[in-house]
């Protein structure tokens, strides 16, 4: 067999091999230790010198060519084998995944953190106060004297130890001002209690965030910008807001910030009592009597205060329709957050 026919035959065999095993046989036959080419090379010594060099060179060339062809074919067959193997495997991606056991933070914790974060970016410190309060911090110091009908605005729980359960976080204003000098910017989150029957929109236990800013020339224009910025950060730039006069004994002037009802887009529904608007932040300029009660001279200081109900904000944010869910401990509810 000439090298030429050997070449044709070997190339045919390489191309013809359909799997790696067959290819391996081809390799053994031509390039292996007992293969054709090896045999030719071994037989070279029997040839005359001149021929030996020529045939040797040609045989080595052929060996190189076939090795390359062989490698190429190996690559092709490997890929083919892998593809065939993969095709046998399959996964049903529609079958459910296995979830890790994750815990959940209460939605009010999450909303509270978000609110704290927004105010902290505006330089507010976060402080806390006790849930059991004295009448002085809860009423008198906030310009709500004894036997004043304004006290009826807070349906209060009274305790046998002479204290009461706070119905608002506002006493923290006084407690903080007593211990700190202005200027100041604080928010005070916390739990509050109101003596009222519960239903889907009323709860005797709820959560508030109080705010207070005091400085030399803090104005109502400042109050507006801080609360508007907050609302935009919390509900998004598209939130529609409105200011209304209101009355709270510890502020003067007193205002209320309302937002267009997100449930009905202002058309009127049960959530907003058909008004199209939701009262979200009662607020106003700190009453001079409050400054006096806290030991500040109202001649030198101006400030604003505000309060917001965490539960209501969370209800609007997550479209929760029953306020009682927050304290229900129901995992079917809590595991959604």
């Amino acid at each position: 067999m000439t090298l030429k026919t050997l070449k044709i035959e070997a190339e045919k065999a390489i191309i013809g091999a359909q799997d790696l095993k067959g290819l391996n046989d081809v390799y053994k036959k031509y390039l292996g230790k007992e293969g054709e080419l090896t045999r030719i090379l071994r037989s070279l010594e029997k040839l005359p010198k001149a021929k030996r060099v020529k045939v040797g060179k040609e045989t080595n060339n052929l060996k190189n060519v076939l090795t390359i062809k062989f490698d190429q074919r190996t690559q092709v067959l490997k890929e083919k084998a892998q593809q065939e193997a993969e095709e046998k495997e399959w996964i049903d991606v529609s079958a459910p995944g296995k979830r890790p056991v994750l815990g959940h933070l209460h939605p009010l914790t999450q909303v509270r953190r978000k609110i704290e974060e927004i105010f902290q970016t505006m330089g507010f410190a976060v402080v806390e106060g006790p849930e059991m309060e004295t009448e002085w911090y809860h009423f008198d110091a906030l310009n709500i004297p004894k036997n004043h009908p304004a006290r009826d605005l807070w349906d209060t729980f009274y305790l046998r130890n002479g204290l009461l359960l706070r119905a608002q976080t506002s006493p923290v204003q006084i407690r903080y001002m007593e211990k700190n000098n202005p200027p100041l910017r604080i928010i005070a989150p916390g739990r509050c209690f109101r003596h009222e029957a519960t239903d889907a929109s009323h709860e005797h236990t709820f959560h508030q965030i109080e705010g207070l800013v005091v400085g030399r020339d803090i104005s109502l224009a400042n109050l507006k910008v801080v609360l508007e910025s907050f609302m935009k950060r919390f509900f998004g730039e598209g939130v529609i807001l409105r200011w209304q006069p209101s009355y709270f004994p510890f502020v003067e002037p007193g205002l209320e910030l309302l937002m267009r009802c997100s449930v009905c887009q202002g058309k009127g529904c049960s959530t907003c009592g058909n008004s199209g608007w939701l009262e979200v932040i009662p607020c106003g300029m700190v009453h001079p009597n409050v400054f006096k009660a806290a030991g500040y001279n109202p001649k030198f200081w101006q400030g604003f205060a505000f309060g917001m109900g965490l539960d209501r904000l969370a209800m609007m944010k997550y479209k929760i329709n029953d306020i009682r869910l927050f304290c229900s401990g129901d995992l079917r509810f809590l595991n959604q957050f």
């Binding site: 815990g103 209460h106 330089g123 507010f124 410190a125 304004a150 005797h204 109502l220 224009a221 006069p245």
Partner: protein, 671 residues
């Protein structure tokens, strides 16, 4: 409070449409709820702010507000007086015993009246505003109250014993039957109107049945009085009786209003029921109220509102509200406050008037100029957030429970120092919680219907007599999970930067055993150094039974405020050893009562510093074990910081450990 649109229209020329009126009032004065069409009229449900009750629980008051906002003109009713015959004082005499409780008492007498039904316009207006028509006399009194805000009362002049009216506090044992037939026992806390003998009305709250206006009434005694708000409030609370009159008096009224209201009423009665208005007014008004004056600095107005308002505009607003003023100096005016505006006491009250009439929407929102002081971090909240995150990562769900517990829980848990509420909503919410555990167990009870494995926690306040309030972190896990909970507490404390944690067996006292809520054999104190920071244990089967919980429950209860003091953000990295470690296992058979920590201590003491870590990987107390024994299996990790340990070296230390353990006569290292 319901207001009639057509009535307001009587006082405001060119009054805008009802919706527009509602919008204007909402933006500048009071929120207006529903606007409803009723019988050719409209009703506006106006939420008059409590500080404005003194002048705006009336159509006049609201009309004046509209006038101030819109710059329209106010036109009051025209008065014509027909005064004839006897003087009022001929029919009755008035004596006020307590001038603080009753600063003014005004009486007018009408004779020869004809009591009958009211004309349609009158009864309709009352009905629109939610009052029933009774007769032309009573209706006029109510009408004038809705018009002016001044409650009035009419007595049958012939029925007053001794022709006397005495304003005094009731005597103990006195009784009265009111117009609607209710009977009340009175006492010295209730102010009454009496004749020579008996109370004939509860002052400022409700009239008595006896001298009521009837068909046969000929002489009408009209009362228009001013009462102390606190007196009326106390009386109203004591009798649990709120009326249109008491609500108005409670908020305070202008003493100067009694006279114009009574004149208006007398005139209307004469128009509708005929008769004659007796000459003169009986008026007990010992201390007249004069308008207050308040100095207002116009620069302060601008500073507080944060907006520049032209001086003329400010003055126009004050004028539109009927405030008189004169300039006391540049940029300062002296304002005279009409006596009906009981709410205006200080300059800030006037600034509110200017601000709201000017319009809060017109005040441009402006950021304050303030020092860029970074806020101080609240350590407690910082660590609270951290702790909650760790528990969440460990698969726990956070719950918020009520701060209340009831008689049942107090009984089951034998709580001795719970704070009781004076006015609980129900017996289930009669005490403040002295522990978070009862409500967490209720959560488990409720949720076990839908969930087999429950891991929950709460971080909240607990309360104890006399006045203590403390933040506590409590968690519960269902199942036989003591070591899971313990590992969790370790991880939590470590993550909070607390080391030196250990657990001390809690020795339940003999007298505690029957009442303890924990399992007396499965309770530990969590300690950091020498300080106790909480408890860890299993809930006693007795308690689980009460709550109908079938699985075991492990709880941890951590004094959070202590934790905050111990927590630290400092954390130092320990260099990775460049040299490989070697692991040898060791199993030892010990009596069941032997504590793991005893074995660990011996291993560490014998092994010295080349023992990098000892890891208990199995505790076995099964059947194959000899009676009363358990098998403890450890991985011991050997490693040096400065060289690779040779196998021989490791074996030597390991043998040393084994020998040390075997010195204990009851321990047996298994080979």
């Amino acid at each position: 409070m319901i207001f009639s649109y057509s009535w307001l229209k009587d006082y405001v020329k060119n009054l805008p449409k009802p919706e527009k009126v509602a919008e204007l009032l909402t933006r500048h004065s009071f929120e207006v709820g529903e606007v409803k069409k009723v019988k050719g009229d409209w009703t506006l449900d106006i939420d008059v702010l409590p500080n404005r009750a003194s002048d705006c629980f009336s159509h006049w008051g609201v009309a004046r507000e509209i006038v101030a906002i819109t710059n329209l003109k106010f036109r009051g009713p025209t008065s014509t007086k027909f005064v004839r015959g006897r003087t009022s004082a001929d029919s009755v005499s008035v004596e006020v015993k307590d001038r603080i409780a009753c600063p003014r008492y005004t009486v007018k007498v009408l004779t020869d009246v004809r009591v009958g039904p009211s004309p349609k316009w009158l009864s309709e207006r009352l009905e629109v505003c939610g009052l029933n028509s009774i007769n032309n006399i009573v209706d006029v009194a109510n009408y004038v109250m809705l018009e002016t805000g001044q409650p009035l009362h009419a007595f049958d002049g012939k029925k007053l014993s001794g022709q006397k009216i005495i304003v005094r506090f009731a005597k103990k044992g006195e009784k009265i039957t009111t117009l609607d037939g209710q009977k009340f026992n009175l006492d010295a806390g209730v102010l009454v109107i009496a004749d020579a003998h008996d109370p004939i009305a509860i002052a400022g709250i409700k009239g008595g049945k006896f001298p009521e206006i009837s068909k046969s009434t000929k002489v009408v005694i009209l009362e228009s009085a001013n009462f102390n708000p606190q007196t009326i409030r106390r009386g109203s609370q004591k009798l649990n009786l709120k009326t249109d009159a008491s609500i108005r008096f409670e908020h305070g009224l202008d003493p100067n209003l009694t006279e114009s209201a009574i004149n208006r009423a007398a005139q209307l009665i004469q128009e509708l029921a005929g008769g004659q208005i007796a000459k003169g007014l009986i008026d007990v008004y010992p201390q007249k109220t004069y308008p207050k004056r308040i100095k207002l600095n116009l620069d302060y107005v601008e500073s507080l509102l944060g907006v520049k308002i032209p001086e003329r505009e400010m003055k126009n607003i004050l004028k539109s509200l009927n405030f008189k003023f004169h300039e006391s100096r540049t940029r300062e005016i002296m304002v005279e406050i009409p006596t009906r505006r009981l709410d205006i006491l200080i300059p800030e009250d006037l600034i509110e008037e200017i601000g709201r009439v000017y319009g809060y929407d017109k005040i441009l929102s402006t950021f304050p100029i303030a020092a860029l002081v970074p806020p101080r971090r609240n350590e407690e909240i910082f660590w609270e957030d951290m702790a909650k995150n760790i528990l969440k990562e460990a698969g726990f769900t956070e719950v918020y429970n009520y701060s209340f517990i009831g008689d049942r829980e107090v009984g089951i848990f034998n709580f001795k120092d719970s704070i009781e509420l004076k006015n609980p909503i129900s017996l289930e919410q009669r005490y403040l919680r002295p522990s978070l555990i009862p409500n967490l167990l209720k959560n488990v009870e409720k949720n076990s219907i839908s969930f087999s494995e429950i891991k929950i926690f709460e971080l909240g306040k607990i309360f104890r007599m006399p006045k203590s309030e403390e933040k506590i972190l409590t968690g519960v896990i269902t199942g036989d999970a003591f070591y899971q909970a313990k590992g969790l507490v370790d991880a939590l404390l470590n993550k909070l930067g607390i080391s030196d944690i250990w657990y001390d067996e809690y020795r339940t006292l003999a007298q505690e055993k029957a009442i303890a809520f924990w399992h007396p054999q499965k309770a530990a104190e969590i300690k950091v150094g020498q300080e106790r920071v909480g408890f860890l244990g299993e809930i006693s089967p007795r308690i689980l039974n009460e709550f109908k919980i079938k699985s075991k429950i492990i709880y941890f209860d951590i004094f959070f405020e202590k934790l905050v003091r111990l927590a630290s953000e400092e954390h130092e990295y320990r260099p990775l050893s460049k040299f490989p470690s070697a692991v040898r296992d060791l199993a030892v058979l010990v009596p069941r009562g032997t504590k793991v920590v005893e074995v660990l201590n011996k291993i560490n003491a014998a092994g010295g510093k080349l023992v990098r870590d000892v890891d208990l990987f199995d505790i076995y107390e099964g059947e194959e074990m000899p009676e009363g024994k358990k098998n403890l299996a450890f991985h011991i990790v050997y490693q040096a910081e400065d060289r690779t340990l040779r196998a021989k070296e490791v074996d030597e230390i390991h043998q040393k450990i084994i020998k040390t353990l075997e010195k204990e006569p009851t321990w047996q290292v298994r080979k």
